[in-house]
Amino acid sequence: MSSIPALVERVVLALAGLVALGETIDDEWTYVHDLETVWVARLRAVAAARAELPPDSGLEPALARLIDEVGRISDPHRAIDWLSTLPQATLVAIGEPAW
């Protein structure tokens, strides 16, 4: 079973994919990267605080499903929406407040 930090890094990688898509909208380049910065920091802080705790059995499949969902996105506008949505859904799956 993967640790919570390892699982969260998979989400961070998925966020990078959304950034690559969202930053193709020139006017939103800064916003996209700022979103990534603040949410990755939040996710890593939560992961670090739970590094020694075993993840619930439902967490790994939940995050795999969410990562699969964002992997299907091809529209850059929807990618930007998911740059905010994926971290919130991830935090809910971990059992943390979503913000």
Partner: protein, 231 residues
């Protein structure tokens, strides 16, 4: 300061049809009593690519997993209802989906405000007029029309909807009201996390100190209730 119905142009006629969609009213009613985690579920599914209900149940174990309330429990039934309604929204075409999502945020805001203010004071699609000031073209999504304690609401699905134009209109209304000796509280309601909204606002130079920001985690304050944690 006076309130006035918005002109019935083509946009308002089309959008009125969206607002009257029974799916909008059903989703808003479910979300008004939802937990924060259930609201995040709605945001994800309405933004989603896939229509596989079991896949979404897998993605939200706290709502549908082994430790979640069983079917028949009100909390579980609400989560299932939100999932069903959100999938119905996601099933609309991209442009319609976007309109429906916006209308749901407005209807949700109306539902929550309706728990705090009398129905006669709560209005949709109203303009606010001030003496000697050119009227804004765009109406406010909702207004609370109480003498001495008026409120004007602009509702957004996501943080990306926050723009300089929106902030200027809200702050200008507050300023014009103050110039007439009236009190008007402008409120921006965003169905997105405050963290994302703050990112969006950080690079805006428009005045917003007098505008209240209500985000997905603090929606219940519209009804006069305290927010809950979202896990």
């Amino acid at each position: 300061m006076r309130f006035q119905d918005a002109a019935k142009d083509a946009r308002t006629v089309v959008y009125a049809g969206v607002q009257a969609d029974p799916l909008v009213r059903r989703a808003a009613a479910l979300l008004a009593d939802a937990t924060p985690a259930q609201r995040v579920l709605a945001r994800a599914v309405m933004n989603g690519e896939t229509a596989d209900a079991d896949g979404w149940r897998l993605a939200f174990p706290s709502l549908f997993g082994a430790a979640a309330p069983p079917r028949g429990d009100p909390a579980r039934d609400r989560a299932e209802g939100i999932l069903e309604a959100s999938l119905a929204v996601a099933g609309r075409g991209e442009q319609v989906r976007s309109q429906v999502r916006g209308a749901i945020v407005e209807a949700l805001t109306e539902d929550l405000l309706g728990r705090r203010v009398p129905p006669s004071a709560l209005r949709r699609e109203r303009r606010i007029l001030f003496d000697g000031v050119h009227a804004e073209i765009h109406p406010y999504d909702l207004t609370v029309e109480v003498a001495g304690a008026a409120e004007a609401y602009d509702c957004k699905w996501g943080a990306r909807g926050i723009s300089a134009d929106v902030l200027h209109q809200l702050d200008d209304a507050r300023g014009h009201a103050a110039a007439e000796g009236e009190r008007l509280l402008p409120v921006l309601v965003v169905f997105d996390a405050r963290r994302s909204c703050e990112v969006r606002l950080a690079r805006q130079t428009a005045r917003r100190a007098g505008t209240r920001l209500v985000t997905i985690e603090t929606l219940d304050r519209l009804a006069g209730r305290r927010a809950e944690a979202a896990s």
